[in-house]
């Protein structure tokens, strides 16, 4: 059996809003195995980013986080700020959509990588600078010794995201969480960044959690995928099983709504994503579901093994086998 580096159990995250408490994450269970690339897919408001911000301990103190997150056996929920500071960047790193706002505009690129190295390892400035240049080389930045002396504004969007990846992997973390890392980039640059992420995963055995709304990106790089809807995990499995025969009606709907070659009419999912201050009772997807029955309005389904997938749908067994959408 493969080693689990990150184990999330019954994670709940609740924000206080003027219209009442908003439970953005409503009990998710999720494992990340050593060295794998796990895709987390969902639409805006599904709780995919918030789950991992909670894992990183990056949410403000007034946000209520409960449940358990074990990183290589150590509990992160409720851990001290001091401990979390020692975890972030060393065992667990996170990169975001906008690489410009993640870099300090007044410091040289090389120094920003060195800072990350020296905050977790006792390294001389000279050794840190040398290591910084190696990291720039690993993420595919040409002439690293010149580039290390430059400032963020001298880099293009794709190059900045490479720098961010270099900083994130500087201390060889166990898990790299990438939150929509290519959404702001052009498609030809996206292809380059995905390749860098795969290279890092390969070379250092880093487990990667890739959060995205793009099912194409998942199909290209992920090993397994987790589908989130309304703060819950609705389906998970290997990409082949999930794309071949999605079982959960939401996953089926997502795949069916994508444009395919040919002119057949698109099939949107009806209705709108739920208001999370007052999510629908029972299965949150039931108001938009083609297969909803009375039981769906009262019972909140949990993930159960169904075929090769884990699916949170009480009717999964009764539903017709889905077609392959591609």
């Amino acid at each position: 059996m493969t080693e689990k580096v990150l184990e999330i159990r019954d994670l709940h995250v609740t924000f206080d809003t003027p219209s009442g408490p908003l439970e953005a994450v409503r009990g998710i269970d999720l494992d990340v195995e050593a060295g794998e690339l796990l895709g987390v897919v969902g639409e805006s408001g599904s709780g995919k980013s918030v789950s991992f911000l909670a894992t990183m301990g990056l949410l403000p103190a007034r946000v209520r986080v409960t449940g358990s997150v074990l990183l290589a056996g150590e509990q992160l929920i409720g851990a001290s700020n001091k401990y979390m500071r020692s975890v972030r960047g060393r065992l667990l790193s996170m990169i975001f959509q906008d690489p410009l706002s993640a870099l300090n505009p007044v410091h040289r690129i090389g120094d920003q990588i060195s800072e990350m190295l020296q905050s977790h390892q006792s390294l001389s400035s000279r050794d840190a600078a040398k290591r910084a240049m190696e990291l720039l080389d690993i993420v595919g930045i040409p002439q690293p010794s010149d580039r290390a002396r430059q400032y963020p504004h001298e880099f293009s969007g794709g190059m900045r995201q490479r720098v961010i990846i270099a900083i994130a992997i500087a201390n060889n973390p166990k898990v790299l969480i990438a939150d929509e890392p290519t959404t702001a980039l052009d498609v030809t640059v996206q292809a380059q960044i995905l390749e860098v992420i795969e290279r890092v995963q390969d070379r250092f055995g880093t487990a990667v959690v890739l959060i995205t709304h793009d099912l194409g990106v998942i199909a290209r790089v992920a090993d397994r995928v987790n589908v989130m809807y309304a703060g819950r995990n609705v389906e998970q499995g290997t990409i082949d099983n999930l794309f071949d025969h999605p079982s959960h009606p939401y996953t089926r709907g997502l795949l069916a709504s994508l444009p395919r070659p040919g002119k057949q009419r698109l099939k949107p999912i009806t209705g709108f994503p739920p208001n999370m201050v007052k999510p629908p009772r029972g299965c949150a997807f039931h108001p938009r579901c083609d297969f909803a029955a009375d039981i769906c309005k009262s019972e909140m389904p949990n993930l159960v093994s169904y075929g090769n997938l884990q699916t949170a749908c009480v009717r999964a067994r009764e539903l017709p086998k889905s077609e392959r959408f591609v």
Partner: protein, 324 residues
Amino acid sequence: MSDELLKVTNLVKNFELRVDKGARRRKRIVQAVTNVSFSVAKGQTLGLVGESGSGKTTVGRCILRLIEPTSGSVEFEGQELGSLKFEEMRALRRKMQIVFQDPFASLDPKMTVGASISEPLIVQGVPGDHADKVLELLELVGLSADHAQRFPHEFSGGQRQRIGVARALALNPALIVLDEPVSALDVSIQAGVVNLFEDLQSRLGMSYVFIAHDLSVVRHIADRVAVMYLGKIVEIGDQEAVYANPTHPYTKALLSAVPLPDPKTERTRNRIMLEGDVPSPVNPPSGCRFRTRCWKAQDVCAQEEPMLAVRPSGQMSACHFPES
């Protein structure tokens, strides 16, 4: 061609950029759009695709003269727009409308939805109180009558985009420029809005210029496609031809960079990985603008600008060494 609605010929748009370098002040020119020509037939959809900085949005705005082209001609129903006075242009905009990308920014938060939709009618001096027209438009885009009294913040992204479409339809335009109309929407909502565009076109017969960076949506909706790179059209032709047999190396690379939602195809695909980023439009490469990233580039590509030429599968592309 008699069914030609819009004809753009040698469109150029340069923006001036003031750069202060120490005591010296110099002007630099951003060549956003260079010698772009295409036409759109009645009832057809032209997809305009390209990466950021390719000039696709600038082309869209030049068509409506929301920004003034530097040179070149835009003919709409046989009429040259460049020579029209401000008032004449305003009258003509009845027939030409635009829908923007961001449905949160393109509606006035203090106006009811009904007021937003009827504003073009008031601007154009259409008599009457427009209440019936507003209801008709709301139903046309899949919203309901009681939505007219509500404000934009009460709607989701997909609904707001429908409101923007209703407003663009108010004057029965013959042409709508759709500038990234579904990019800001969630996947499950996108499909519904794309279907709406198709339904409206088959019912009302207008033409679209559909600007997008999402190649799979453009493939679905467009009859013809123009691929732009650094301000120029590198390939243009029927959608089937361009997607099935891309002849410009950039088109080929762009298509191969789009990840497809199918793990099996993704594993076996031949992928072209372009190096580097799009160069700056302030100082574009000589000759073929794509040559700095092209794996086929030869000396001639730096010296001589390739012209659009017809290829065997019917489309035109601008390349010295076209793919076949």
